[in-house]
């Protein structure tokens, strides 16, 4: 018997660390307690799995009491563990997915290379290095149709070929684990849950392009990913899967980690290179592309974490198997991070070509608290929203762009009727303004101007011609910016204008925020029928805006009200109404 506890960052945040210690202390002899990464069902964390010779049982939302019951179950005592067993529906959701990038996540112990090897790990690298020529490797990737999972969706084989063809005595393979899109966490999950898949993918890329040095650029906010990756690199070196004469062949390659220092723009490949060189992370003009002149001006291949983690599978199963999934222009599977107002948030991996409906209402279980679906943001701050009426949009690089959004790294932030779309546009602009490196004027000043306009609209000071001004600025910024950060920054504004113009008009003309998010546009008043005169709201009000006698209905002085919402929070009778 074996107990496995899901200890990805999300599991740990849900309390898996304590559960792990508890089980480790009390588990009977001969029953090891081991760690695994994130299986993707974050809404069910902490998750504990028990494996016996003939059975596999998953327990979810395991707290201390549940852990006790599970221990009783293991010891064959009377127990109530069954109430924590995963629901059929959730299990079906998991099994309905097609897992390639996540194939080992939440299954193997990421801290034990033996478990990766036992699941055909490093077989693909061995095959490439021992049996295939670099050209054959690139051909296989070409057949698979694999395209970059980091955002732009560029053909991976094309990039590898370019780096291979570039002349140079020294080449680099770089893994982009900067994962800057707020709301996306698949790269973190892959590194934490299956670090060797990334290492093996990089190893194959290195062989294909002729590199001997690899670097993984991990964002600083992912301490656990760095620890697990460091351990994995150490174990790979011990087995000579990294280092000199790998697989006894004349091929050398090693990888080091570089921790980022917090800058979204460093996810852009040329900025990432600048950062690796110890500089401010400012994007550089392309061409030359990194494949020609990259890190220290040497040919470099940069791919995303998920891109690399698909590679071993493709080599093992053949490019054609990968290409058989997906659509005409988007092959294989893609991992999505489903968050926001979703009932069952987490990671899902599905073949390209499914619809947004499949994700949100299938695996995602619909909207939280039975509210109404409004839109989903895809592609993060560079992407756009897809409104409810387009829920049947197919997930594929081209269709998403046509709808005004983009695949991006696969973040899907779901929004419901309580999300204000103008506020969302403002939120993204605020983000890009903060993250703009300041190199080019359109991005630095243009986005600032757009943010100011959005700020005033949300503050109730919007002007009639603001919508026109926003659209005009947006197009100019798209044209005039140097890197994709600036070029895509106006997208959230453009898509919200396209699909939710009515909300902008409500804010500007009627001074109303129907989603009740823009504080300046709200009015608070007390429902006389419901107010019991308990005086609690008056006590809580920081600005003494509420008056009234004990046991009589209170009232709010609109002049004094600062719209902090404390009265509404305090009221036990739901007598404070917000409009």
């Amino acid at each position: 018997m074996k107990i496995t506890v899901g200890k990805g960052s999300c599991g740990i945040a849900a309390g898996a660390g304590e559960i792990f210690s508890l089980l480790e202390q009390k588990a009977p002899a001969g029953c090891p307690v081991v760690v695994t990464g994130c299986i993707g069902m974050c809404y069910l964390e902490p998750i504990v799995n028990i494996e016996t010779d003939d059975k596999n049982i998953t327990f979810v939302k395991v707290n201390a009491e549940a852990a006790d019951e599970i221990l009783k179950y293991i010891n064959g005592e009377e127990n109530k563990a069954s109430q924590y067993i995963i629901e059929r529906e959730d299990l079906d959701n998991l099994n309905s997915q097609q897992r390639i990038a996540l194939q080992n996540c939440g299954i193997i112990d990421p801290e034990n290379i033996g478990e990766y090897i036992a699941r055909e790990g490093y077989k693909a690298a061995e095959k490439c290095i021992k049996e295939l020529t670099p050209e054959q490797v690139i051909d296989e990737i070409k057949i698979s149709g694999l395209s970059g999972r980091g955002g732009a969706g560029f053909s991976t084989a094309f990039k590898w070929n370019a780096a291979r063809s570039s002349k140079g005595d020294k080449k680099y393979v770089i893994c982009n684990a900067d994962e800057g899109d707020p709301g996306a966490f698949m790269d973190r999950a892959v590194i934490e849950g299956d670090p060797h898949a990334v290492i093996e993918g990089m190893l194959i890329a290195a062989y294909a392009i002729g590199a001997d040095e690899g670097i993984v650029y991990v964002r600083a906010e992912y301490p656990l990913a760095i620890i697990r990756l460091e351990l994995a690199l150490k174990q790979a070196r011990e087995k000579n899967l990294l280092g000199e004469n790998i697989f006894g062949c004349d091929f050398c390659f090693d990888i080091r980690i570089k921790a980022g220092a917090g800058a979204f723009v460093c996810g852009e490949e040329t900025a990432l290179i600048a950062s690796l060189e110890g500089e401010r992370g400012m994007p550089r003009l392309k061409p030359p592309f990194p494949a020609e002149k990259g890190f220290w001006k040497k040919p470099s291949n940069i791919n995303n974490v998920e891109t690399y983690s698909n590679v071993p599978w493709i080599i093992r199963n053949g490019g054609a198997a990968f290409a058989s999934m997906g659509t005409e222009n988007s092959k294989g599977t893609k991992v999505f991070a489903l968050t926001g107002k979703i009932a069952k948030g987490g990671l899902v991996e599905i073949p390209m070509g499914k619809t947004i409906y499949d994700v949100v209402y299938g695996v995602g279980g619909g909207i939280k608290d039975g509210k109404k679906f409004k839109a989903v943001q895809m592609g993060g701050p560079s992407g756009g929203c897809i409104p409810a009426e387009l829920i049947d949009t197919m997930i594929d690089y081209k269709t998403l762009v046509a709808a005004g959004a983009m695949m991006g790294s696969g973040g899907m932030v779901v929004m419901d009727e309580t999300t204000c779309m103008v506020d969302m546009a403002r939120f993204f602009l605020d983000f890009t303004v903060k993250e703009s490196c300041g190199k080019c004027i359109h991005c630095r000043i243009g986005n600032q101007r757009m943010l100011e306009i959005l700020d005033r609209i949300c503050d109730g000071n919007g002007r009639e011609d603001d919508i026109e001004l926003l659209s005009d600025l947006a197009l100019q910024i798209k044209d005039g910016s140097l890197c994709a950060l600036g070029q895509t920054a106006p997208n959230p504004v453009l898509t919200t204008l396209r699909y939710f113009l009515n909300e902008y008009e409500d804010h500007i003309k009627n001074k109303k925020c129907t989603a009740h998010q823009c504080k300046a546009l709200l009015t608070y008043f007390i429902d006389n029928d419901k107010c019991t005169g308990c005086t609690l709201c008056a006590k809580k009000c920081p600005n003494k805006a509420i008056s009234g006698e004990v046991k009589k209905a209170h009232s709010i002085d609109m002049e004094k009200c600062i719209k902090c919402g404390k009265c509404a929070d305090a009221c036990r009778f739901k007598a404070v109404v917000v409009d």
């Binding site: 960052s9 740990i12 945040a13 899109d181 709301g183 950062s275 110890g278 926001g340």
Partner: protein, 185 residues
Amino acid sequence: MERNFTCTCPAEQTDQMQIYKFSDPAIDITLLEPYLIKYAGTEGSLITVLQKAQDIYGYLPVDLLAYISRRTGIKPAKVMGVVTFYTQFRTKPVGKNLILLCQGTACHVNGSSDIEAAIRDYLKIEEGEISENGLFTYNNVACLGCCSLSPVMMIGDKTYGKLTKDSAVKILKEIAQQEQKEAVE
């Protein structure tokens, strides 16, 4: 930001490391020495050296930056340029517990601005400031990668998810109590 910090560079005064005095007496420069030696001459290692320094001292005061500039031969303006570019680096000290409050998309949608308001109210500080008891500083960050548990904050190496205004304040209260208890013992 002080501008003429080259003049205050302690390394101007002498070349013997032991006598360097920094405006913050808590800075023991010998702790950084091994890294300055390890990375001396490695091109492109400035960010790594700065990260080590911040790990050790908690922040990067200007005279320390001047010293690093001196030792690495990298121009002060460039060191400062890098420090101000990356959000991870700070030139001011922080409270004993640094709260990283996520303001990423998922957390925003799930009400992280209310959490910020609650924390600000409770600690009576603005972002980046130190609370009166010296225990807390909060910084807004964009995504801690635990989006499915949003809203999220991280204190030290512990992540707290599914925050509400009340639970966030409760967590801070508990940490403060714990700190008090330890101080007494």
